[in-house]
């Protein structure tokens, strides 16, 4: 049965058929027909944002916290160009998004028409794939394809550019089941011979480590479950990248903390000294590896990744396994069990002793104060007071992000939303709104810095309009803290442009937006302030005035290997050499 309808209606129909319940967007001339269709239905909630960048980050928060693709609708020209930062962010962090953009009518394309931009050209390098749909008969099919591409293999953002005349034109609607199977079908099962080889190494390894990443979370809850089973059954220590936090529980007995530039001492030393590194869905990012030449010099490296281009890109590995982490873990456990569940128990015991020795360094130690709130202390109190809640955390980018990663514990996947690859300041507030849309009853907290938070603060209007009780926990040091820290360490303490002058009064700002705010500066008042924030039934901004010059430790200085970490202030003099200073 063919159903004839306009392109605009097809868009809504296709979204409905794809199970979409929420769209984040902003109207404009080139998408008016689609907005007219949105007006005439009730299945899909449209969240009106204040800036298109916010829409994309909201969709990222929605996607990351649900495992479903996030959907965005923007107009042509500036609507689409404003989405570019969010698209790039989603591409680097492998977040599935479907972004629909309006375009000038096909007969005006190429004439520099009003609000015309070469959207597919501009977004080609920052999407997994994109399409310009010129034929209304292909529109529905393209949207279904878009969902398939965004969610299969290594997830990522796709963009579909829809000229206005295509939205008005009429054609037959095609449902998701009526289109021929997509040619794009990435392999999911790993090579069983390679998996068996890895099992043999697990049986013998004296100092193995599981190095897990965002791929475990993207693979779905089953992968996290299998990771827990593998780690707990074998006794192999688990560390994770920033993107992978929560896949293995922070309260789990094998957890040794996050690794990387601001990772834990024990995690980085274990990476450096291991003899078998099992990389599950991580990509040897430069924040993780430090100096490549000295990266884990004595280990055999296995790498499970669904993206062939991730394998051997940065670090050459000995056992590449191309496949979905969940499928590979399932096979790996099967093989390991069938071979008699062997591990090198005596050696593992010694390995854990060594790790416990590193742990006793207590690398997250900081000198607390009863006069001023230390940002680390604020994180510890936030953790203590929110632990039992159904909690989701988003962050902006900078020192506060690292402190959140260090001091907050995540026991479940999909609970931690942060901009890892692109490092987008301004991500956290809109992301928290996207998370809250998906989980209306949950406690959603954006851990922010003052500078990052200002970058997309207009979205507080969205939070208030949709009665989304997002909590904005701002560690306010009146600085661009991470920039200031680097200037202190590598630019002779010349603090060029790294302070926040003329900051708004966040409490008055909250009132101006129609929500509630509070400020806290005395460590003695911190718990009550956090409790007030949690208990308030609505969006809340908590302005936490913290120590202005606190540095984030531990830290692997640029250009240094894992075993040359800085643990505190005393060790920072002249630590970054000129070669390291050119790195970011």
């Amino acid at each position: 049965m063919s159903r004839s309808m306009t392109g605009a209606r097809m868009v809504v129909e296709a979204l409905r058929d794809q199970g979409v319940d929420t769209v984040f967007g902003y109207p404009g001339g080139a998408v008016l027909p689609i907005y007219d269709e949105i007006f005439q239905q009730n299945d899909i909630t449209h969240v009106l944002v204040r800036h298109e960048q916010g829409a994309v980050h909201m969709a990222e928060g929605y996607a990351r916290s649900t495992g479903k693709p996030g959907v965005v609708l923007v107009t042509s020209g500036p609507g689409a160009t404003n989405a570019v930062t969010g698209l790039t962010d989603a591409l680097l962090d492998s977040i599935p998004l479907v972004v629909l953009s309006g375009q000038v009518p096909t007969f005006l394309i190429g004439t520099d028409g009003f609000q015309e931009a070469d959207t597919v050209g501009i977004t080609r390098p920052c999407t997994k794939h994109n399409w310009l749909v010129k034929d209304p008969a292909k529109l529905a099919e393209t949207i279904h394809k878009g969902f398939h591409v965004a969610t299969s293999g290594r997830p990522g953002p796709v963009l579909i550019d829809i000229p206005k005349d295509v939205q008005f034109a009429t054609a037959d609607y095609v449902g998701p089941k009526q289109i021929e199977p997509a040619k794009y079908q990435p392999a999911r099962k790993g090579d069983i011979a390679a998996i068996t080889r890895l099992v043999e190494l697990i049986e013998q390894a004296e100092r193995p480590i599981l190095y897990t990443g965002g791929g475990v979370i993207n693979s779905g809850p089953a992968a996290s479950q299998l990771l827990r089973e593998l780690a707990d059954a074998t006794g192999i220590p688990v560390t994770s990248t920033l993107m992978g936090l929560g896949a293995y529980p922070a309260s789990g007995k094998n957890w040794i903390g996050m690794l990387g530039m601001h990772g834990l001492y024990e995690a980085n030393l274990a990476m450096h000294d291991c003899d078998l590194m099992i990389n599950l869905g991580a990509r040897f990012d430069d924040r993780i590896t430090g100096r490549i030449a000295d990266f884990s010099p004595g280990s055999v490296k296995a790498h499970v990744d669904i993206d062939p281009s991730s394998i051997n890109k940065v670090i050459r590995v000995d056992i590449p396994i191309l496949g979905d982490v969940g499928h590979v873990l399932e096979d790996l456990l099967k093989v390991w069990k069938s071979r008699g569940r062997k591990v090198n128990t005596p050696a593992l015991g010694k390995w854990w002793e060594k790790i416990e020795g590193w742990k006793s360094k207590n690398c997250l130690f900081f000198r607390n104060s009863d006069k001023i709130i230390k940002p680390q202390h604020a994180m510890q109190r936030l953790e203590a007071l929110t632990k039992g809640h159904d909690r989701y955390i988003t962050t902006e980018v900078g020192q506060h992000q690292m402190w959140a990663a260090q001091y907050l514990g995540f026991d479940e996947p999909n609970r931690w939303m942060t901009s890892g690859g692109l490092g987008t300041m301004g991500y956290g507030l809109p992301a928290s709104i996207g998370v809250q849309m998906a989980h209306p009853e949950a406690l959603v907290i954006n851990v922010a810095g003052d500078a990052s938070w200002l970058m997309n603060m207009q979205e507080m209007g969205t939070a208030v309009q949709f009665r989304l009780p997002v909590k904005q926990f701002i560690l306010n040091n009146e600085r661009l803290g991470m920039v200031r820290q680097w200037q202190q360490l590598l630019h002779g303490e010349r603090y060029s442009q790294s302070w926040s002058d003329s900051l708004p009064d966040f409490v008055k700002l909250a009132e101006a937006f129609g929500c509630k705010g509070a400020q806290v500066r005395d460590p003695g008042d911190l718990d009550a302030a956090i409790q007030q924030m949690i208990d308030y039934d609505g969006p809340f901004i908590l302005d936490v005035l913290v120590e202005k010059h606190e540095n984030c430790f531990p830290m692997i200085p640029s250009g240094k290997p894992h075993n040359e970490m800085l643990l505190g202030e005393a060790e920072t003099q002249g630590v970054i050499e000129s070669q390291g200073a050119v790195l970011v």
Partner: protein, 186 residues
Amino acid sequence: MNALNIQKGMSSHSAYDLRDPNAEIVESHTLAVLVENEPGVLARVIGLFSGRGYNIDSLTVAEVDHTGHQSRITVVTSGTPAVIEQIKAQLGRIVPVHEVHDLTVEGPSVERELGLFKVRGQGDKRVEALRIAEIFRANVVDSTLESFVFELVGTPSKLDAFADLMRPLGLADLARTGVAALARGA
């Protein structure tokens, strides 16, 4: 073409591929990329090379299967073995790319390029140009009293050699198609 049955996205595992993956030697490789002929697909491939800092030494593209809308892009690129593997993996990741073949390692292959050479000259130089063209089995496709246009098909190095010989004889203009390549055998 498909004798080794190398799948999209896999690295080449020819038994004869004994290159050291960590070698720093820059090699030239000819890649055949079979793509869905949809708008922008060439821009995606070229954008990958410029965006990630890879080299394109030569590039040809044309639709080779009109019913299946399949195009074949032949790219000659250069880089260390690790970079070449990365280029292949990155190409394989582009959604409308169906197959990536590294003709340089997958077995023997034929490479051909077509060149058009305009040579201006009179007297002895003109006679000499025509004589050399005969040796190279180039065809004369246009002629005036003071010029020839030669058409020559061959490997890129044969075209280079011909151009070098024609230069002192009045080579005025030159157009080359870039390399088209196919694996040898059935």
